[in-house]
């Protein structure tokens, strides 16, 4: 099988890579572009540790082919921070001790951001169901949910401040 050249945008940067047509986007990101933040936990879309956004939509990158990235926009966990400033979700995950081994954390951060981007003030139930596609075996999810709630609060506060500034 000969490789296909793929041109795409990852975390705002234009990139190119070559991959066999049957390679998953997860493997292309990890093995071709060195972005090892997304993890393979199952390879069948059941654990969410490979979560990324594709044209703004939350997907399991193990269920997308590398060649499908052509011309699209991808965000991974590596694109959440702005320079050295952590995203409020990243900061709250640390502050609330919402990670133990951390293997599921990149997936949770991407999924939680996707939730808060469309629903800035979710209830506890809405958070739990939005994150039901991400498995964690270490924490029991308690501190993860609290971290998302705290980050949502931080983000709403910041948005209010920005809105005031613009007036």
């Amino acid at each position: 099988m000969s490789s296909v050249l793929v041109s795409t945008t990852v975390n705002g940067d234009p990139v190119q890579f070559a991959c066999p047509p049957d390679e998953t986007l997860l493997n292309s990101l990890r093995d071709r572009l060195g972005l090892t933040g997304a993890k393979e936990g199952c390879g069948t879309g059941d654990c969410g540790s490979c979560s990324i956004t594709l044209d703004g939509r939350l997907v399991c990158s193990c269920l997308v082919l590398g060649v499908e990235a052509e011309g699209r926009e991808i965000t991974t966990v590596e694109g959440l921070a702005e320079g050295s400033t952590l995203h409020p979700l990243q900061q709250q995950f640390i502050d609330q001790a919402a990670l133990q081994c951390g293997i599921c954390t990149p997936g949770f951060l991407v999924a939680a951001k996707a939730l808060l981007d469309r629903n800035p003030d979710p209830t506890e139930t809405e958070i739990r169901y939005a994150l039901a596609g991400n498995l964690c075996r270490c924490t029991g999810y308690d501190k993860i949910v609290r971290a998302v709630q705290a980050a949502a609060k931080d983000m709403r506060k910041a948005a209010k401040k920005n809105a005031k500034k613009k007036k």
Binding site: G41, T44, A81, Q100, C101, G140
Partner: protein, 747 residues
């Protein structure tokens, strides 16, 4: 013990606070590197060919076509892994489990492996390997395996001179349980079953192996014990221990499942044959089929009690399904079963039984949850029979300081009574329950262990401290070690950076298991810091030109004692470090210890559930964990262990099980059908940390990681049984089982 380990009951400046962890930023930015995140120039992809049969004789393996495929650099079978175990049966079992020799013993047992230039070539190569199997009858159920005509898994294991699947039978206890029955007013006898579960770590086994023709090797691997992996791999491959350098990656969950080698010897053997680095990563299906899940069990419990609640006879026999190779699972269960109670007549029997299933590995407080399910469920039946509150029944028989434990030694200060009192008075007990709702509680115990540990503490010229530990960090140990070093030295937490060293950097460290990490490494860190303080005092003495006996260390500074030195201002650690090049060179502290005196940890849990009588689905409404931690170094991480363990127990109690078909093949090797709890399945899990100090640790530390997986099976069993009005005796209490129990009751 060479150093004084006695509890000091001191006030703390750093210990007990909630500081940010040192690996936090790396883990939230994707920078942290786990087992599969390493790459080497020229690396090959390794894949394993696995038996499609539950039990088969391997007549012949033809690898010739696979070897000739362009891009294939090495193909190995058992022929490439000669037996160097010199009669050590446990090591031979490990060798045979990693790669089948003349028989495949379970669905997924490795029979060959390849290393090729890319994944697709490796996959093609596997297809070209021709294995001739002769299928044998198989057995996958623990009770079936004990029958006289059952297919034999390991012919060398014999009972009464005949091959048997019963590997071992161990008894623990004291008194006379038959005599004790005569004193009882009520006797409850019941049998229970629990199905096989997996630790369920989200990160599959992964490693990158590189072996050189001169016999040196490098192994990057996700593991709970890189020193243990080094020892085992070196033994199996005939390498010198000191020439194999093993580096522990960040670990994406272990819970006992990453304390044994699976693919690592294969990756090393392939690398040696190909003379190139080989990366091997297990698929999720391989993790389920061919790593080390825990045992399934069947058990019988019998409790006799007087009307006032005094237990006069306590008996349990539990049969553990060890998989295809024997382990000590029956022994561990037998020792923990009755540990929470003060009993005159007590007996527990643990039996190890072999089946055509993967070789069982440790899973968080191994073997304890199963017997606890039997014991704690039956205690509730006894309470109901004599009309006593379940908590009061347990308090009536609770173990205390001075109680002779059911497994032998007399207890020192312990926390089980305190956890029961905390549960009794907890606000959750007062919440009103509605229709189809039930409440249950249960207790649990785990020993915790110590073990071999080394720590290096190096003080930089700017006075910041670099700490190198050998215990793998599974839950926050680097933060805890830095806190301990900061506390001992009297400096800010932010001035200490802890790292996990590779096997070339330190002496042997035992695996992070048995809740030993904080206890053992903490001990070693304390003594390494005190070692460094001695050096700091000597340097200060030199700088002041006074005898070292006149120097003390307080709050991060050296002080000169004695009236004649009153005008000498204290010297801070930073000042002493800055002068170190000319006062004797680098300042370091070092400690090697076999940490003993680990403290036992008890827990009591409360669970409220609601069961839908139409679907059999159970919703957890409220869950509370009360556990004795001795001393919570970092409360966030202690809470995290309690919540995580409870969540695993909840999954085990309600949904998780290995399902084998009549063909002996595993039917659900994936996260879709092996259903672990997801975020929407659980409520917030309340925690209450008690601190009854361990008298054998300066800070009173007890291990905490394991105990809280022990109570959930019974806490939920007791709650569900209350909710539906019928006793559930088969774990997991999944919807089909609950509906069946309800149907049987209605009939």
């Amino acid at each position: 013990m060479k150093h004084d380990q006695s509890y000091t009951d001191q006030d703390f400046k750093v210990i007990g606070s909630r500081v940010p962890r040192p690996d936090g930023v790396d883990k939230v930015t994707g920078r942290a590197r786990y087992g599969a995140d390493a790459y080497a120039p020229g690396q090959l992809t390794g894949l394993v060919l696995r038996s499609p049969h539950a039990h088969a004789r391997i007549k012949k393996i033809d690898i010739s076509k696979a070897e000739k495929l362009p891009g294939v650099k090495a193909v190995i079978t058992a022929a490439d892994l000669p037996d160097l175990t010199e009669g050590r049966r446990d090591l031979f079992d490990t060798l045979e489990n990693c790669m089948a020799r003349d028989r495949a013993l379970y669905d997924g047992h490795a029979v060959a492996a390849v290393a090729a230039i890319d994944r697709n070539t490796a996959k093609q190569a596997l297809k070209l390997i021709k294995v001739s199997y002769e299928k044998q009858p198989h057995v996958t159920d623990v009770d079936e395996a004990m029958k006289p005509d059952a297919p034999i898994v390991q012919p060398h294991i014999q009972q009464d001179g005949k091959p048997s699947n019963i590997a071992q039978r161990m008894e623990f206890g004291h008194g006379d349980v038959d005599e004790g029955l005569k004193e009882a007013d009520v006797v409850i006898e019941k049998s229970y079953k629990t199905e096989q579960t997996h630790q369920g770590y989200i990160e599959p086994h992964a490693c990158l192996a590189s072996v050189s023709p001169d016999g040196t090797g490098d192994l990057w691997v996700t593991t709970q014990g890189h020193f243990q992996y080094r020892n085992v791999c070196a033994s199996l491959l005939g390498m010198d221990v000191a020439k194999l350098k093993v580096t522990s990656s960040e670990i994406g969950g272990g819970f006992g499942g990453k304390t044994h080698v699976w693919i690592e010897p294969l990756a090393l053997a392939l690398s040696r044959k190909a003379n190139r680095p080989v990366k091997m990563v297990m698929s999720r299906e391989e993790v389920f089929k061919a790593s080390g899940p825990t045992c399934s069990t069947s058990m019988d419990v019998r409790i006799g009690a007087r009307k006032d609640g005094t237990i006069t006879s306590a008996f349990i026999e539990c049969r553990y399904m060890d998989g295809a190779f024997p382990g000590i699972w029956g022994m561990l269960g037998g020792m923990t079963a009755w540990a929470c109670y003060d009993l005159k007549n007590v007996k527990s029997v643990g039996v190890d039984v072999l089946c055509n299933r993967p070789k069982v590995a440790a899973y968080r407080a191994p073997s304890a949850p199963m017997m606890a399910f039997g014991v704690e469920s039956t205690l509730d039946l006894v309470a109901a029979e004599i009309g006593m509150d379940p908590i009061d029944l347990r308090l009536k028989n609770v173990a205390r300081e001075g109680t002779r434990s059911s497994y032998g030694p007399t207890y020192g200060p312990i926390g089980i009574e305190a956890t029961l009192q905390a549960v009794k008075n907890h606000p959750q007990m007062k919440k009103k329950l509605g229709k189809n709702q039930g409440r249950g509680m249960a207790c649990g115990f785990w020993f915790n262990i110590g073990g071999q540990t080394c720590v290096d503490l190096n003080i930089g010229v700017d006075g910041t401290v670099s700490l190198t530990q050998g215990t793998v960090d599974v839950g926050g140990a680097r933060a805890s070690m830095a806190m301990i070093a900061a506390e001992e030295l009297g400096i800010p937490y932010e001035d200490v950076k802890s790292n996990v060293g590779d096997t070339a950097s330190l002496g042997h460290n035992d695996t992070t298991e048995g809740s030993r990490g904080t206890f053992s490494s903490g001990l070693a860190t304390i003594f390494a810091a005190r070692d460094a303080i001695q050096v700091l005092k000597e340097r200060a003495a030199k700088m002041w030109d006074i005898p070292v006996e006149q120097v003390t260390w307080e709050n991060g500074e050296a002080r000169a004692v004695g009236a004649e030195h009153n005008n000498l201002p204290p010297l801070s650690l930073k000042e002493i470090a800055a002068k170190s090049p000319t006062t004797g060179g680098p300042i370091a502290g070092h400690n090697e210890v076999t940490a003993d005196g680990a403290g036992v940890s008890f827990a009591s849990h409360i669970c409220d559930v609601e069961v839908d009588p139409e679907t059999g689905r159970t919703e957890i409404l409220r869950y509370t964990v009360v556990q004795d931690a001795g001393k919570a170094i970092h409360p966030d991480y202690v809470e995290g262990q309690m919540q995580g363990a409870a969540a695993q127990g909840i999954g085990w109690a309600l949904n998780e099980e290995y399902i084998y078909g009549k063909d002996g093949l595993l039917q659900n090797p994936g996260f879709l059908d092996y259903r672990i709890p997801v975020c929407s399945d659980l409520p917030f899990i309340d925690t209450k940390i008690l601190e009854i100090p361990n008298p054998n640790h300066p800070y009173g530390i007890r291990g905490v990681g394991e105990t809280s997986i022990v109570p959930p099976l019974a806490a939920i069993g007791n709650a569900v049984s209350q909710a539906v009005g019928v006793r559930l005796d088969h774990v997991p209490m999944s919807p089909p089982r609950i509906l069946k129990a309800l149907d049987e009751q209605a009939a």
